[in-house]
């Protein structure tokens, strides 16, 4: 058995207790606990899985099953900023192909990749982000950006880089 190096900060440990108190069954807290762990660690490593399993008294396989089922949990380090380009029907009608191709050129990595400097990671996703009135649109670090053009994408990337 290897020891894990990940553990919640004291503040997050308190938050963990608060999350548990919302549910009559502790297992129900798992998705929220994984969100919290990902916020702290950037992704769900095997270390994080082992820690959460111990903390919640669940087999690791239960954690792995959940982590791999949901698309918002990362299983490897991502960029400091993460971009999701919506490729769903309304964005397709808004020519999201152009935005995807532009991002590929600008970032120099294929979807799923991380830029060499670690600034950005990105995905082109077939599931709808629920902002079709803004097509074509994308999400950067949780925030939505719409009515995109290649120029607008460049400005958004530039601004995000400045924040680093």
């Amino acid at each position: 058995m290897s020891t894990t190096t990940f553990e919640f900060t004291p503040e997050n440990l308190r938050e963990f207790g608060d999350i548990l108190s919302r549910y009559p069954q502790p297992r129900a807290a798992l998705l929220q606990v994984l969100h919290l762990a990902q916020e702290q660690n950037g992704y769900i490593s095997e270390d994080v899985e082992a820690y959460v399993a111990r903390l919640m008294n669940l087999p690791i396989v239960d954690i792995r099953e959940v982590v791999t089922f949901y698309s918002l949990y990362f299983r490897r380090p991502m960029g400091r900023h993460h971009i999701r380009v919506c490729m769903s029907i309304s964005c397709m009608l808004g020519d999201c192909d152009v935005i995807r191709d532009h991002l590929r050129t600008r970032l120099g990595v294929a979807p799923g990749g991380v830029t060499a400097d670690g600034s950005f990671s990105w995905e082109a996703i077939p599931d709808c982000l629920g902002a079709c009135e803004l097509a074509p649109m994308m999400q950067l670090d949780g925030e939505y950006f719409g009515n995109l053009t290649p120029q607008k994408v460049d400005e958004i990337l530039k601004k995000a880089r400045l924040e680093d």
Binding site: R22, Y23, P24, Q25, R27, A28, A29, L30, L31, Q32, L34, H35, E65, V66, F69, Y70, S71, L72, Y73, R84, M87, S88, I89, S90, M92, L93, I125, P126, D127, C128, L129, G130, A131, C132, E133, A135, Q139, G142, E143, Y144
Partner: protein, 429 residues
């Protein structure tokens, strides 16, 4: 028909999400009236009278759904609010969460009073970060002011409301997938029966209602069920938030009476087709709803009228396509979505969505064969009625729409290895 603002009344109003402002404008008066002046059954009766139907997409009568919860069960009862809005082309609940979170909380109180519920969970899709933050602030404010908690609005009635964030899975919008996800598991839908009203969250009786559905309760209590029913048409009460997108000049969320024809939504409220091109096709209720052709634009938007023509109003996400849109590409986009989002539990869906995506991909790429149409038809047939939840049926319905309404486009792609609209598309671009 005129725009009737019931749940969209405060869209665009920056102040409305503050509790102070909401209360100054009559907020929580309906919840107060329900708790202090009405017996739970009276509230349910009013909702039954209103003909309010489930606005997440299934359209099941709301009051009837509540009445299935056994009154004499000793187990706790739960309300789960479905804010896992993820049907492609749908974005109306996001507006409620972002602009008017207290209207939803007030609806939660009214429903909980009617059914005898003391704990509610709002399941918000993980991608909705901003809506989550706004809703969280509103719930915290409501607790602080004694609107939620041990004594709701000072009454001898306890109600806790928690927000549960999803983590990126369309299937969790399916009500039993949502329950599994709430219990900390992967979102694999459950076999029904038993229905959630009897055995739902944590094996207890559970009501699952959509954000927009609950948001109508404030007005139904204040103005009465009959008033609400009169706004709509027969058996389809009130208004609906129509999320309009695609090739229109003015996409957005429009609240209109049930029964408004699609033409009015697209040409009046949406200001017509982008570039003044010709209308070609309409998806009337999110990606699962079979596509309609331009000559069907006068159909009134009700659950029943769209079901009659073999499609559905579903989530009321209306996606507009003009003459320059390739239907093979449109189906390809939707097939990609379903293949990505099938949860993998049932073989016909897991395999079928993948097959269809790969076949349509090769047709689009100019590698289709004449047998492909037959294979698509058979995949579609074998995906209907053969799986636990409706995702597979919805995908099959969507495929069927494209294949039956626009077969010539698929045949052209297969025969000529290219799109006959390519030149047209180029000219438009």
């Amino acid at each position: 028909m005129p725009i009737v603002k019931l749940v969209s009344e405060y869209f665009g109003n920056e102040q409305a999400k503050s509790l102070d402002w909401y209360r100054q404008n009559g907020g929580y008066e309906a919840a107060r009236r329900a708790i202090f002046e009405m017996a739970p059954k009276q509230v349910t009766d009013e909702v039954i009278k209103s003909n309010l139907r489930g606005l997440g997409g299934a359209g099941f009568p709301t009051g009837k759904k509540w009445s299935f919860v056994p009154a004499d069960d000793s187990k706790p009862k739960y309300l789960t609010v479905n804010a896992d809005e993820a049907e492609p082309g749908t974005f109306k609940d996001r507006y409620i969460l972002e602009w008017d979170p207290h209207r939803l909380i007030e609806g939660i109180i009214i429903c909980s009073w009617a059914v005898g519920i003391h704990k509610a969970y709002i399941y918000v899709r993980g991608e909705y970060v901003r809506p989550y933050r706004i809703l969280k602030a509103a719930v915290e404010e409501a607790y602080k002011e004694g609107i939620l908690g041990e004594h709701v609005l000072g009454a001898d009635f306890k109600l806790d409301v928690h927000i549960h964030r999803g983590a990126g899975a369309y299937i969790c919008g399916e009500e039993t997938g949502l329950l599994e996800s709430l219990e900390g598991k992967k979102g694999w839908p459950r076999l029904k029966p038993p229905f959630p009203a009897i055995i739902g969250l944590f094996n207890c009786p559970t009501v699952i209602n959509n954000v927009e559905t609950l948001s109508h309760l404030r007005n139904i209590i204040l103005k009465g069920g009959e008033w609400f029913a009169d706004i709509g048409v027969d058996r389809n009460g009130g208004t609906r938030l129509f999320a309009l997108s695609g090739r229109v000049k003015r996409p957005g969320v429009y609240e209109l009476p049930m029964g408004t024809p699609m033409r009015e939504l697209i040409y009046e409220h949406g200001d017509g087709i982008a570039g003044d091109r010709q209308l070609k096709a309409i998806i009337p209720g999110g990606a699962s709803a079979p596509v309609l052709t331009a000559d069907q634009v006068d159909i009134p938007m009700t659950f029943d009228d769209l079901a009659k023509v073999g499609s559905m109003l579903g989530s009321a996400g209306i996606v507009v396509m003009d003459e320059s849109v390739c239907m093979v590409k449109a189906m390809h986009t939707i097939a990609d979505f379903f293949a990505h989002e099938s949860c993998g539990q049932c073989t016909p869906c897991r395999q079928g969505t993948g097959w269809v995506y790969r076949i349509v991909s090769r047709i689009l790429d100019g590698h289709g064969s004449v047998d492909d149409m037959k294979t698509l038809e058979s995949a579609k047939k074998n995906m209907s009625g053969t799986s636990i939840c409706a995702l597979s049926d919805g995908a099959a319905m969507a495929y069927g729409g494209f294949l039956s309404k626009f077969p010539e486009e698929f045949e052209y792609h297969i025969k000529h290895k290219k799109c006959d609209l390519q030149e047209k598309r180029m000219a438009v671009a």
